[in-house]
């Protein structure tokens, strides 16, 4: 801390001055000491260099203030004068008008004791308050009778906090996590296996060539402010999205038009078939807003879901209250749900231990151990998610455009070892599509861990451990330093000297995502259905393969889901073979909760967290 280093400096400065005082005789010391003391105080405050210069009168008033006997003061004044005659003039000039100084000094004497007492009193007061709080806290536990009881409120500890509530503009899965399905509802929804299920629309059909969808809405729907929700709100919301280019609007590909044919029917037309349409409508593009409501979307939310936002403290907490006007089947089981965000993993774990939160998602696996052991009071479980830890290798980079280098890196990485050191819950992933997304196929066999093969490939490319290839790995500091260290040591034996460059996320966005200035990059791509990244030449991967684009386009035009999935799987296989990246693992969320908590979703809960069913049963004594 800065003050500490300051302390050393001050000590040195004052120590150096002390010997000077000792050289004077006793009487002269009075003045000498005064010079010294003021010299120090001027040093510290840096305010007035003059203070030290006119030291004689300073010494004089100092003595006046503190000494009892006037005669001794005079003696000392003379003594001070004898050391410096010019300053003596000041002494005389000032001593006449010094009465106030003396008075002030005498009044100060009473204060001195009071001052010490004040500190003692402050300590006692703090101690008393603490004791009071503690005793009161203990009392709470020991009243009431033993019975099962559903809590009125559940507090959930999360990690990534949304900065605002504007789901139409602000990116980030933390916003989807809180708002989608809880506060805002979509035309359709998705379940915990990432499959599309009815939402505001109870059913839908599409025409034969897949270019026109008709949605039949539920009846009697309304927003939390009491406004009716009908087909006009749906059409308006999607039209706004497309004309104003809100977040994720580009994922509604081939969009042509949307109209409300009557109050309960919405017709959506496409220019060409798009197989992901329904799934996209289950996410942000399908959310329905109140066209008649006027509110600040950054700080408030008016939706049709089972909860409303009662209070929002950016980066700290969100309080959800059950929506009394909720129209549907997903009625909130718990009246109040508080979402609290923890930047520090230890603080999060302490909050669960102390009972301040009842659920923690995610909990770092290594920190979850005490909860795993205490299975009587806690439950710890892992759920699937679509998080892909992608180690991108710049396909157009000077050093990484050589496919042999990229393949060697894939052979050299020990995925099992990486996963084990993180606790073992994550799954190996051999390609760009995770198990919860369409087109998944186990591709881990394409590049099995094989150091010899990696060495041979590197040798072909003219690199050996004695003549290594220097590569820079850039990733955001949110992922910790361990991953980089592990990769460095795994790549060293095959002749790669990895320089790990851990940066702030926004720097990563600038250097890697925008400027594509990197050799290797690592980031958690947590989005679902994001395979199209591999078909965009302009994306930071710098990857381009005509065959992949064709497969993908066919997949998106496919008339059945199975046809789409087969084509996507083919495309994913080609991408993985080309080795534009290594997929370190498919991150799985570990959730820890109190034994009485029920209905908390485990799968996908970092992007999709339906809370209506969450409740906490406690035994009240």
């Amino acid at each position: 801390m800065p003050t500490n280093s300051g302390a050393h400096g001050e000590n040195d400065a004052t120590d150096n001055k002390t010997p000077g005082t000792n050289e004077n005789e006793t009487a002269a010391k009075v003045a000498g000491g005064a010079v010294n003391a003021t010299g120090v105080s001027a040093n510290v405050s840096d305010t007035n260099a003059k203070a030290a210069g006119s030291s004689a009168d300073i010494g004089d008033s100092g003595v006046n203030t503190d000494a009892h006997d006037n005669s001794s003061v005079k003696a000392s004044k003379n003594a001070a004068g004898s050391t410096d005659e010019t300053l003596n003039a000041h002494v005389k000039g000032v001593s006449g008008g010094n009465a106030s100084g003396v008075n002030g000094g005498k009044a100060g004497k009473g204060k001195k004791k009071g001052w010490i007492w004040a500190i003692v009193a402050a300590v006692v007061v703090v101690a008393l308050i603490v004791a009071f709080v503690v005793i009161r806290g203990n009392q709470k536990v020991s009243d009431g009778m033993a019975r099962m009881h559903k809590s009125d409120s559940v507090t959930v500890g999360l990690k990534l906090a949304p900065t605002n509530l504007d789901i139409r503009n602000q990116s980030g899965s933390s916003l989807d996590q809180v708002l989608v399905g809880n506060v805002y509802e979509g035309l359709v929804a998705r379940d915990s296996n990432n499959k599309v299920v009815p939402g505001l629309a109870k059913s839908w059909e599409k025409n034969a060539d897949g270019t026109s969808y008709t949605f039949h809405l539920n009846r009697g729907m309304n927003f939390s402010n009491g406004d009716k929700l009908d087909a006009n709100d749906v059409a308006w919301s999607i039209n706004e999205l497309m004309t104003r280019h809100y977040h994720d609007s580009e994922s509604l590909m081939n969009f042509k038009s949307v109209t409300a044919t009557d109050a309960d029917t919405v017709k959506l037309d496409l220019t060409a078939p798009y197989a992901n349409l329904l799934w996209e409508l289950a996410c942000r593009p399908g959310l329905v807003f109140d066209k008649n409501a006027n509110y600040d979307m950054k700080t408030q939310a008016v939706g049709s879901g089972p909860y409303t936002v009662a209070k929002f403290v950016p980066n700290d907490s969100i309080t959800l209250k059950a929506n009394p006007k909720y129209w549907g089947e997903h009625k909130a089981k718990t009246p109040t749900i508080v979402l609290r965000y923890f930047g520090d993993d230890n603080a999060a774990v302490n909050a669960l231990k102390s009972g301040d939160v009842q659920v923690l998602a995610p909990v770092t696996e290594n920190l979850a151990e005490p909860f795993v052991k205490d299975s009587e009071h806690y439950r710890v479980a892992a759920g699937d998610d679509t998080d892909k830890y992608v180690l991108a290798m710049n396909s157009k980079g000077v050093k990484t455009s050589d496919v042999r280098v990229r393949q060697a890196i894939r052979y050299a990485i020990g995925h099992k070892q990486l996963i084990a050191s993180r606790g073992g819950a994550d799954k190996p992933l051999g390609g760009p599509i995770p198990s919860l997304d369409p087109g998944y196929e186990d591709l881990t066999g394409l590049y099995p861990h094989n150091v010899d093969k990696a060495k041979a490939l590197m040798k072909e490319a003219d690199y050996t451990p004695d003549h290594p290839l220097e590569l820079r790995l850039t990733y955001a500091n949110t992922y910790g330093t361990e991953l980089g260290d592990q990769l460095r040591s795994q790549l060293k034996p095959i002749g790669i000297d990895l320089k790990v460059n851990v940066v702030e996320f926004s720097t990563w966005l600038q250097d890697v995502l925008k400027n594509k200035d990197y050799d290797l990059s690592m980031v958690d791509h947590n989005e679902s259905h994001d395979f199209s990244q591999w078909t965009q030449d302009s994306y930071y991967y710098n990857y381009s393969n005509q065959k992949v684009k064709e497969y993908y386009n066919y997949a998106m035009a496919a008339s059945s889901d199975s046809q789409r999935d087969a084509l996507l799987a083919k495309a994913a296989r080609v991408v993985s073979e080309d080795a534009p990246a290594d997929w370190l693992f498919n991150y799985r969320i570990t959730t820890a909760m109190k034994a009485g908590v029920q209905g908390f979703p485990l799968n996908l809960n970092q992007t999709l967290l339906p809370l209506y069913n969450v409740r906490c049963m406690t035994t009240v004594k």
């Binding site: 500490n4 005064a34 003059k50 009892h68 003692v120 906090a161 231990k353």
Partner: protein, 323 residues
């Protein structure tokens, strides 16, 4: 009075200079709030659209003067990300940080002054070096580690004596006074113990100086014992120096408690500043830094005034100089 005016003008000029430095330094940082807002999958056009919506595509000079214009009217601006007024956000965070600093200072003063005085008065070499040891060890404790240790000892649910909340601030804020205060006890102890140790060193050296000076001889010649002289004369003389140290310490604590706020999951100024900077919410960051700088300067200003109040010698020194 003249001194106060001159000092105040200096304060204003310094603030202007600081506003330029803050604005320029933040513009050197890579990345911007628009790309943070747009996320990983957004096309570049979307980022450009957000930039122009937020006025980030205006020339820097225009941006600077529109910010400065706001400051002059007491308007610190609106955060681009949260959409809230920056002054109210800072006020909310300050309602955690300032009480924490005050409590921390009380702990630091209680520890630092008491031990400092006692260790100066101690005559036996063994006792003196024991105190010296305490001061060094106390000052050397990393805040994070000290905080964790306190949580392990006293944290509710985690500690040996599970009595105090180890994280979070009550939702009702100071409306729930008891638990708000309780939630600050461990953080304040963490800050206080460490700063108390360095304050102890300051007290020792300041008082030690006075002890070697002629004032003590004088006071003892008047019939005081050594201890009485130290407490009644010595402390009074050492006060101006200690006031400076405590002033700097309280200003420094704003950033010093940053780590502590994070560890105890308190929504304070430090934790907020780090988040805003990470999100490149530059309008928020520059206004927050500006407020912090103003606060630092203000504390300095206050310390100077206090000095003159506590140490009448300074006033006469200047008057003498003017005459």
């Amino acid at each position: 009075m003249r001194f106060v005016i001159r000092r105040f003008l200096l304060f204003v000029v310094a603030l202007l200079a600081i506003s330029v430095v803050i604005f320029a330094a933040l513009r050197i940082l890579p990345g911007d709030v628009a790309s943070v807002m747009a996320g990983l999958n957004a096309p570049p056009e979307r980022v450009a659209q957000l930039r122009s919506q937020m006025g980030l595509d205006r020339p820097l000079v225009v941006q600077y003067f529109s910010w400065l214009g706001g400051l002059l009217q007491g308007n610190f601006g609106t955060s681009l990300l949260t959409g809230r007024s920056i002054s109210s956000t800072v006020a909310m965070r300050a309602s955690v940080t300032f009480p924490l600093i005050v409590l921390g200072l009380i702990v630091a003063l209680a520890i630092g002054l008491t031990l400092g005085v006692v260790s100066t008065l101690a005559t036996r070499p063994a006792v003196r070096s024991a105190f010296h040891f305490i001061a060094i060890v106390g000052g050397a404790i990393p805040a994070l580690w000290g905080g964790l240790l306190l949580i392990l000892l006293f944290g509710r649910g985690t500690g040996l004596l599970d009595v105090l909340p180890s994280q979070g601030f009550p939702e009702a804020g100071w409306g729930n006074f008891g638990s708000a205060l309780a939630s600050l006890v461990l953080p304040a102890l963490t800050v206080g113990i460490i700063d108390g140790a360095s304050l102890m060193r300051y007290t020792r050296s300041a008082l030690g100086d006075v002890m070697n000076s002629g004032y003590m001889d004088q006071a003892m010649a008047c019939g005081y014992t050594r201890r009485q002289a130290a407490l009644k004369v010595g402390l009074r003389l050492a006060t101006p120096q200690l006031v400076s140290v405590v002033g700097l310490m309280s200003a420094g604590m704003i950033t010093g408690v940053m780590v502590i706020e994070n560890l105890f999951a308190l929504p304070g100024i430090g934790a907020g500043l780090v988040t805003d900077l990470g999100n490149r919410d530059l309008i928020a960051v520059q206004s927050e830094l500006f407020m912090l700088a103003a606060f630092f300067l203000f504390v300095g200003f206050l310390v100077d005034l206090l000095h003159r109040f506590l140490d009448p010698r300074l006033k006469h020194a200047v008057q003498g100089g003017v005459q």
